[in-house]
Assembly symmetry: C2
Homo-oligomer: 267 residues x 2
């Protein structure tokens, strides 16, 4: 038994969808969340920059005595996970591997799609991971850089979102594709709109769901799970002044966390 | 005569619209441009953070021996100009004051509109400046946070942009408004689409135009202007790896600057 918290970090507010999944799967685990809002978005930044930011935040979480770290940001998972894993003495998890594993099992047509930020898509991290697991699958990727700004503007339905989805998905979603990975933590917020736009049954995979399952399994294996009766505590930190983070968390992610969020200085 | 360069900085690529205006008005002046692409966008950040970034970049420009600095970013002009002006031994210009002055002269109906990022609009810098010049004018503001992502996605015409403009401008532009300030450096790129959306004659003011005029006047007054025969040199620096900056500069701002852009480390 180990009641120390799990560190979760994301470039901004999006990782709250991952926190939600961890909470559902592991309700006794405490979480310390860092949203790097002073430097969001990571999506279009270079690998070098993202690795620097990731190291700083993991070190901060380690200083808070976390027992494990979840990189909830797809871009940072894609660009930094393998580099930072050997540098720290605790398990570090990314969001790419678990959902990639699930996608290879779930697809019947052998054709998987991935949508994400430019950084995640350009990194080819999802296709590489999926092809390592099964080189015979067809994998297509599509960067959707307008989706995060839309979601943060609370545009989660309606004409603008429909047009933006059309721009990215019209030619991308083909009849043979039966599995689509939501390769950015913001996207689960608009999964209904994406489902509606596609208009037929498709496996819409939220990486947070599979990350939480992997985390549950690993904590158990390494005897790091919290006591079942442990009263979990959630703490939220941002690297910029938290009002914008709180507003988006409240309005869009339906997680009222205002009283809990504090600013920290990383740089 | 003073052939030292002018420093121009912006949070990203948007300030290139200001460089364009300075180049047209002052073709003999050399420019050192810094795009803070590692920390873009400034729009939703706190004043404290923006002031820190602004100080760092002005110090960097000063170390490059500039004779003056232009803060091409509306957000930084709004939140940081007055704080940083007394801290440095060279003239520092922002983009708020010159266009605000022009708007008060140009409006016939006494009704001015301003569009910009959340940070600029929340700061109230344009209305405060305009009301200091003429307290009787009616001034309305509208934050348009989706416009920059659209422009950087090369969506500068068509249905999505029209819907986004409708979202922000439909109720905002009233018949009595005859002057609209483009309060973000990206917006001049879509001035045609904005004009077309509004569908009637309106003064669409690009802050860069009036900044360049102010700069010309001040350099002359303080005997800081370059020799007319001076061969101007343009240098571009970014704080993140420059490929994305170069792509947007080439495609959207029609300024092919690839060979000239280098990364610098500020943090």
């Amino acid at each position: 038994m180990d009641n120390r918290p799990i560190g979760v970090f994301d470039s901004g507010v999006g990782g709250l969808t991952v926190v939600k999944e961890i909470h559902q799967t592991l309700p006794s685990e405490s979480i310390i969340y860092v949203g790097d809002t002073a430097r969001v978005p990571y999506g279009n930044r270079s690998a070098e920059t993202i690795i620097t930011y990731t190291k700083q935040i993991i070190q901060y979480l380690l200083d808070q005595n976390v027992k494990a770290v979840v990189i909830a940001c797809s871009t940072a998972s894609a660009q930094a996970l393998e580099v930072v894993k050997p540098l720290f003495p605790i398990p570090i998890f990314g969001v790419i591997e678990p959902v990639s594993q699930a996608s290879t099992t779930l697809t019947q047509t052998q054709h998987i799609g991935i949508i994400g930020t430019k950084g995640t898509i350009n990194s080819q991290a999802f296709p590489h991971t999926i092809h390592r697991l099964n080189p015979h699958l067809k994998v297509d990727s599509q960067a959707c850089p307008l989706l995060v700004p839309c979601i943060e503007e609370n545009i989660t339905s309606g004409l603008i979102l429909k047009n933006v989805l059309h721009l990215y998905l019209n030619k991308f979603i083909t009849p043979s594709m039966d599995t689509l990975i939501l390769g950015c933590t913001h996207y689960p917020v608009i999964s209904d709109a994406i489902n509606q736009y596609i208009g037929r049954e498709i496996n819409l995979l939220n990486p947070g769901t599979y990350l939480a399952e992997t985390l549950r399994h690993e904590l158990l294996t390494q005897s790091l799970q919290s006591d079942r009766l442990h009263q979990s505590v959630y703490q939220y930190y941002t690297t910029d002044e938290p009002s914008n983070f709180i507003a988006i968390a409240d309005n869009i992610f339906s997680q009222p966390i205002s009283s809990l969020t504090q600013k920290i200085n990383l740089i």
